[in-house]
Amino acid sequence: MDKNTQTEIFFGPNHPGVPGNYGINYEFEGDTVTSARANAGHLHRGFEKLMEERIWIKNTALVPRICVEEPDINEMVYAMGFEAIGEIEVPRRADYIRSIILELARIQGHIFSIGGNAAGIGQYTVMHWGTLTRDYLLDIFEEITGARVYHIYIRPGGVRQDIEDETLDKILDLMDELENERFPDLQKALFENPNAQKRWQGKAVITKEEAIEMGATGPVLRANGVPHDLRKMMPYAAYDDVEFEVPTGENGDAWDRIKIARDDMLQSIKIIRQLINKIPDGPVQADLGNGLKYKIPKGDAYVKIESKRGEYGYYMVSDGSLKPYRVHVRGASTPLGLYGVREFLPGTRIADVPVWAKSLGICPPEFDR
């Protein structure tokens, strides 16, 4: 090939086509990627180090900031790690509230990223709708937790405050509205749009074998027909009390993954309705004593839960002091954002790079933490 047709492009770290402050360095031949290299590090905030220097309770305000897309997931994994090492029993009502929060967060995250995906192929209307719909969910969060994005609500031992019945009713109303009004619009505007289907079908394929080999989980794996979901495989919070299906795809492509996101939201609505119907009364926070002196025994735990993009895990070590000795964050998209970029991007055409990056749910802050 003629050397003149080879181009090197720096994509990001500030580019609407990549999610977050993260760069990918490409080489192209014509408009086809021949090599790609993840260029992370623009977003490094040193969270793991910061956490080692702060007492347990302070870190609850830190963890949600690790990943903008999934703040509640981070709060939950952190709390679970603390509870696993300290062998702390969480009140059942708190388990239910946690599940409600996590499912609301899942819908919020999916609707946002479907919008982002749509923007990646030029469907900006849908992106605005996504942002708008998310805002109604954020209103609910604001009512439950006092904040819109970083809730600092799930705490070791339970949740910060109880949900009022009035708010539960509002959630149910919003779920109806999503199901009956907003999702049908989305369906028509995006999923039935021949243009969108064409842009996504057969693109950014990752097979089951490839996914398992690199440790990709969530929609990336499920798009290949395997219903692997930690909510079912290792139930946490109140997921063992609800019935739901794990949506899967067939072809392992971007189209399947986006459809999984959509179907996941419908399952979440189903889960939330069940949870609200069955939520028990009782306290929402275990008695852990003085917040400045949380102390758990020496020990370690790897805890993981199903984020909207798959396995989100923390490896936490306690040396019996007032601060965590080590917290290691394993973000859902870590293998994809670093390894996947190099292995699977080559061969993609330049216009499909955003399809690739966004449909795989790459969130740089969680590996560049």
Partner: protein, 599 residues
């Protein structure tokens, strides 16, 4: 959801939005109010806030710093500092609200502030938030989100029926588990340190208990207090009165924690832990008059500094009021001896049964020693001097208590009246109750005091426990006369109603209502209305200044005679911990004086 058919007409449905009302809020024409729980800008009730700095402690981003506020008075139990928040750092997590000890810090629903000057983003929250506009309250701490542990661990005590017939110690003390849990409640604000008369390192020794490092606790305690076994039991614990936690919950059991720490270090290890195995001597000699808490405290700190100490004590054992005043059920002799034995092991020389002024003159001490510390205390009971007090069946509480401590048999009758509302009155009433129970099988003791129960100087817990033991209280009564039968035995104590104890200037000046008379039948009366001292051993030979009834001392417990230092009740009352402080001050002062840095 519907199957994913393909139709180029499907997206056209979006056009229906052209005729719909926009969902965007038209700000500022339309207001966009935050939710009820919204974590907005901070507001702080400056009156309620005590400047404990716990919010600063919990702040994730170091956004909070404490600034001195000149218009807020520095009162007992609070600092004149208030939190200042840097909104360039704040992340609105609200942990400061969850941890606020007084509940003064709250959040409004206000969320928008714009200014070109970055300096304006640093504010000291007050009644209004950063925008200086009144906004409805936002996020409020509730029971689930509260980060403080407001309930104290109950101290186990002997039941009244178990304790009433013996002098066994009532308070059982914490177990390791209880102590660590109680210690974990501390927020380490150090408000208590400022209030403690001896400025003990309270949060530090509590932290030692929490960390299961009792040696650290012991070291911290001995910094300011060489009688912790005593103070761990009978201290008036002013610290607990100002504990930051007491604003919304129960104060930390500081006194019992101190007791736990010292009870659980073996006295054989004291020297090694406290680093006093080998003390370099400096060949200077100091005499201490009186082996009470002040004298022992001075002796301890001086001998740790290398001075040769001789303590002159008129009684047969050391301890002063701690031994001869406080009953064994509150302070067992073993505990007292543990503290004293350690001080003695430092090389302090005790001369017992020697009264300065009688057996040896102060002048001689002045000649033979480099400095003298006088702490002879108040051992002479005062009398009400109402008619009848000269009768043989009227006794002084301090004398009886001392005899009980010596193991002597004390007179006791079936019906007893105690006059007085302080802790000494409680001590004698409760001691006599035990002896009565032992001798007659039942308790019949009435305590009368001028003060009504709300202003009685005795500790509330003493009053409650006395009541549990069957003692009857008649507060607000003034003794008028003790009526005596013809055979010389007592008939009854005649009292009138005490209308007020203090006058408008808060001076002691009781007024009585003589139309309200009550008689309490009794065959023995014990007076416990206060004690006086006898400083003639000083006054006869040296001229020293007084401040009211007490000897005037400076910050180093130095009297107007430069080689003479004084402490304890003769210089500053009223309790053990104040005595310890004056003794410690004197030790520092004498050291300075003998090294020429104090005149």
């Amino acid at each position: 959801m519907a199957n994913d058919k393909k139709s180029i007409f499907s997206p056209v449905t979006a056009f229906k939005n052209l005729v719909k009302k926009p969902e965007t809020v038209r700000y500022p024409a339309e207001s966009n109010d935050a939710a009820k729980r919204y974590r907005g800008f901070h507001i702080n009730d400056l009156e309620e806030c005590i400047g404990c700095s716990t919010c600063q402690e919990v702040c994730v981003n170091d956004a909070i710093s404490m600034v001195e506020m000149l218009d807020v008075p520095a009162e007992e139990g609070q600092r004149n500092e208030r939190p200042q928040i840097d909104y360039g750092r704040c992340c609105w997590c609200g942990l400061c609200v969850d941890v606020c000890t007084t509940g003064s810090l709250e959040m409004s629903r206000d969320y928008s502030y714009i200014d070109l000057d970055p300096d304006t983003f640093i504010v000291t929250p007050a009644e209004n938030d950063i925008n200086q506009v009144e906004h409805p309250l936002g996020y409020l701490r509730d029971q689930s989100s509260d980060l403080l542990d407001l309930k104290r661990i109950e101290m186990e005590m002997l039941e009244p029926e178990e304790r009433i017939d013996s002098f066994i110690e009532i308070v059982e003390g914490f177990s390791k588990e209880q102590a660590e849990k109680e210690a974990s409640r501390c927020v380490e604000c150090e408000i208590c340190t400022e209030t403690c008369p001896a400025n003990m390192n309270i949060p530090q020794y509590i932290r030692g208990i929490f960390d299961d490092d009792l040696e650290e606790s012991l070291q911290q305690i001995y910094e300011d207090n060489p009688l912790p076994e005593v103070c761990g039991r009978v201290c008036t614990h002013k610290c607990e009165g100002v504990c930051a936690l007491s604003h919304r919950g129960e104060a930390i059991s500081i006194r019992w924690l101190k007791r736990y720490a010292v009870d659980n270090v073996d006295s054989a290890e004291y020297k090694q832990v406290l680093g006093t195995e080998k003390i370099e001597q400096n060949n200077k000699k100091v005499a201490v008059v009186g082996a009470g808490p002040a004298g022992l405290s001075a002796a301890h700190y001086l001998s740790v500094m290398g001075y040769q100490i001789t303590v002159y004590e008129s009684k047969e054992k050391a301890g002063g009021m701690m031994r001869y005043g406080i009953p064994e059920y509150r302070l067992p002799y073993d505990a007292l001896d543990k503290d004293i034995d350690y001080i003695e092991s430092l090389g302090v020389n005790f001369v017992f049964n020697t009264r300065v002024g009688e057996d040896i003159e102060l002048k001689e001490l002045h000649e033979n020693y480099d400095a003298v510390f006088a702490a002879t205390g108040l051992h002479n009971g005062r009398s009400t001097r109402v008619p009848g007090t000269e009768n043989n069946n009227v006794y002084q509480a301090v004398n009886l208590l001392a005899d009980i401590a010596r193991g002597k048999e004390v007179p006791v009758t079936k019906r007893l009246v105690v006059i007085g509302g302080g802790n000494v009155a409680m001590d004698i009433a409760r001691s006599m109750a035990r002896i009565q129970k032992d001798k007659y099988g039942e308790v019949d003791i009435t305590v009368t005091s001028l003060e009504t129960e709300d202003i009685m100087p005795a500790d509330q817990e003493e009053i409650d426990e006395a009541r549990e033991e069957g003692i009857v209280f008649k507060p607000g009564r003034g003794p008028k006369e003790i009526e005596i039968n013809e055979d010389g035995s007592l008939a009854h104590l005649c009292t009138n109603c005490c209308v007020s104890v203090f006058d408008e200037d808060m001076n002691f000046n009781p007024t009585y209502d003589n139309s309200d008379i009550e008689n309490y039948e009794c065959d023995m009366v014990i007076e416990a209305i206060g004690q006086g001292g006898d400083n003639s051993y000083i006054d006869d030979q040296f001229e020293i200044e007084y401040a009211g009834p007490r000897i005037k001392i400076n910050d180093y417990s130095q009297t107007s005679v430069n080689w003479l230092f004084a402490g304890g009740d003769i210089a500053r009352g009223p309790d053990v911990i104040n005595a310890i402080k004056t003794g410690h001050d004197a030790a520092v002062g004498i050291d300075k004086y003998l090294n020429d840095s104090l005149k």
